[in-house]
């Protein structure tokens, strides 16, 4: 589903964000990316979203070669990916409901159909009662969960998450991960960037470890669990 083939990313200022990274995440797989801040986690996610393009190497996501993608294709490509952003990226002049409905609106869903899906997604993250609130009225953790609902509402094939549990207490973190696991079980490919080492340790998932832009470890889940 996601295939990095000797990917390097060098920014215009000469900073080497990723160096010769190769890995593959397949359907129904949940993988964590860990590493210190500045290790290249965000760059890696940006490459998959086609926000940045790789300096060298081949990157294939959802069957599309992202090294050669036109600007029109980029929009279509992003519709297949649900993304949870570290800074939430919510629209502050729209209600929670309208924020979560945005991907469906973009894809042209029928309003009744969209309404049902939005409520199902909000229910998954426990925010059904807040659908009429505006993001500014929500706590950081609640905003985070609105972002998660928006990422899953479209039932994407790939879900990317950048520190999705950053603002959540352990109990909420676990429930968010449970939502992710539900999607994993139906064949969605999930890539979660997190520096929450204890969470990653506890979950026993595949873990990609980045250090200064290099992939230094690809830990498979322990067979005993």
């Amino acid at each position: 589903m996601i295939k990095f083939d000797n990917i390097s990313k060098r920014y215009a200022d000469g900073q080497e964000a990723l160096v010769d990274v190769s890995f593959e995440v397949s359907r129904g797989e949940l993988a964590f990316i860990t590493g210190h801040s500045g290790a290249g986690k965000s760059t890696l996610l940006k490459l998959i979203l086609a926000i940045e393009s790789p300096s060298s190497g081949q990157l294939i996501a959802n069957g599309i070669n992202l090294s050669r993608i036109s600007s029109k294709q980029i929009a279509l490509h992003r519709r297949q990916i649900g993304t949870v952003f570290q800074d939430h990226q919510l629209l502050h002049d729209r209600s929670v409901f309208d924020n979560v409905a945005l991907p469906l609106e973009i894809c042209g869903y029928h309003p009744t159909d969209a309404g049902r899906r939005v409520r199902a997604a909000l229910d998954k993250v426990g925010l059904l009662k807040k659908e009429k609130s505006f993001p500014a009225a929500l706590s950081g953790g609640e905003q985070q969960r609105v972002g998660i609902a928006r990422a899953v509402v479209n039932r994407p094939r790939i879900i990317l998450a950048d520190e999705p549990t950053g603002n959540l207490d352990p109990a909420l973190s676990r429930e968010v991960i449970e939502v992710f696991e539900q999607f994993q079980s139906v064949g969605v490919c999930l890539l979660v960037a997190s520096h929450d080492a204890s969470l990653v340790e506890r979950l026993n998932c595949r873990t990609l470890v980045l250090d200064s832009g290099r992939l230094i470890a690809d830990q498979k889940p322990r067979p005993d669990s």
Binding site: S71, R78, P103, K124, N154, V179
Partner: protein
């Protein structure tokens, strides 16, 4: 919260097989009523944004209105001139002065011949005696004229051509000049032709000015939309991040442009009304001096519609082009 329990009860579990094919094109699932709903919402949002900044919105609308007003006034002036000309068309008279010594009978025959021509609406013979009578009555010199030994006035035929365009009248004059009985041909409506030429010029200035104004309006609306795009950069970034196309992001600005143009057009009509009413009272005073009966006509419905439609079209198009151009430059 007990997320998992509730989600099992209420939320449909995603299933690979039943998952509908991802809808990748805007508008694919949209029926007409859906589209109407979407557009009503977009329009409402755009309208709300304009009302939220009333002063700057009004300034933009006012500038658009003033720009539209100039060519609109010229066209209105032109159509007034044209209608004046139309009013005089029937009376585009040509007078043929006959040679002395042509008998009344001969002259009448010429007059009848002329009347039978297709190019002629009206022809009437005025005998020298009749002319003298009329002259006497008009000047009050009857007594003096009666003392004269012979009548110095020639016979004349007054004709009204069917086609009153300057070239047709000129052709006719040449034709009439060649008649052996005719001494002199005089067009009584030369000044009408001059007025027609002026009206033509006003129209031409109006057309050139319109082009300049259209270009100017593009810049005005374009600049306003550019600022609006700049203000909503964060929102556009989010839309792009979740897969919205440039066109999807631009939709929000189209109604803004449309409303600016519509508002400008309507205000232009109102301003024109004020200008015409102001002119009309001073014109009336002037006309009273000439005992004339002429009123500046205001906007006809058709003229008004043209101004409003022009404003709306320019506003919408400028918004489309500028917003797309600037949205393209925003990267998430």
């Amino acid at each position: 919260m007990s997320v998992s329990k509730r989600s099992q009860a209420a939320a449909p579990k995603p299933q690979v097989k039943s998952r509908p094919k991802p809808n990748t094109r805007v508008g694919r699932n949209e029926s007409f009523s859906d589209l109407l709903q979407i557009h009503r919402r977009l329009a409402k949002n755009s309208g709300r944004r304009l009302v939220q900044t009333p002063v700057s919105s009004f300034i933009t609308v006012f500038v658009i209105a003033v720009s539209l007003l100039l060519p609109a006034l010229l066209f209105s002036l032109n159509s007034n001139l044209t209608s004046v000309l139309a009013g005089f068309e029937d009376s585009a008279q040509v007078t043929l002065y006959l040679h002395a010594g042509i008998s009344d009978a001969d002259a009448k025959e010429v007059s009848n011949d002329l009347l039978s021509l297709e190019t002629m609406n009206y022809a009437s013979y005025i005998s020298p005696a009749q002319a003298l009578d009329e002259f006497g009555t008009a000047t009050g010199l009857e007594n003096l004229l009666q003392e004269m030994a012979s009548n110095p006035l020639p016979g004349a035929i007054v004709v009204t051509p069917a086609n009153v365009s300057p070239t047709a009248v000129d052709d006719l004059v040449r034709q009439l000049q060649d008649l052996p009985e005719v001494d002199l041909v005089q067009i009584d409506s030369r000044w009408l032709q001059r007025l027609a030429a002026i009206s033509e010029l006003v129209g031409a200035i109006g057309r050139v000015l319109s082009l300049i104004v259209i270009l100017g309006l593009f810049f005005i609306v374009g600049n306003t939309i550019k600022l609006a795009v700049e203000n909503r950069k964060a929102e556009i970034r989010v839309i792009k991040l979740v897969g919205g196309s440039d066109m999807f992001a631009a939709r929000a600005f189209l109604y803004t442009g449309l409303f600016y143009g519509l508002g400008g057009g309507i205000l232009a009509i109102a301003l024109q009304g004020i200008v015409l009413v102001t002119f009309n009272s001073s014109l009336e005073a002037l006309m009273q001096l000439y005992e004339g009966d002429f009123q500046l006509r205001g906007f006809s419905l058709a003229n008004g519609l043209v101004v409003v439609l022009a404003g709306a079209t320019i506003g919408w198009t400028a918004a489309l082009l500028t917003s797309l151009r600037h949205i393209r430059g925003i990267s998430p």
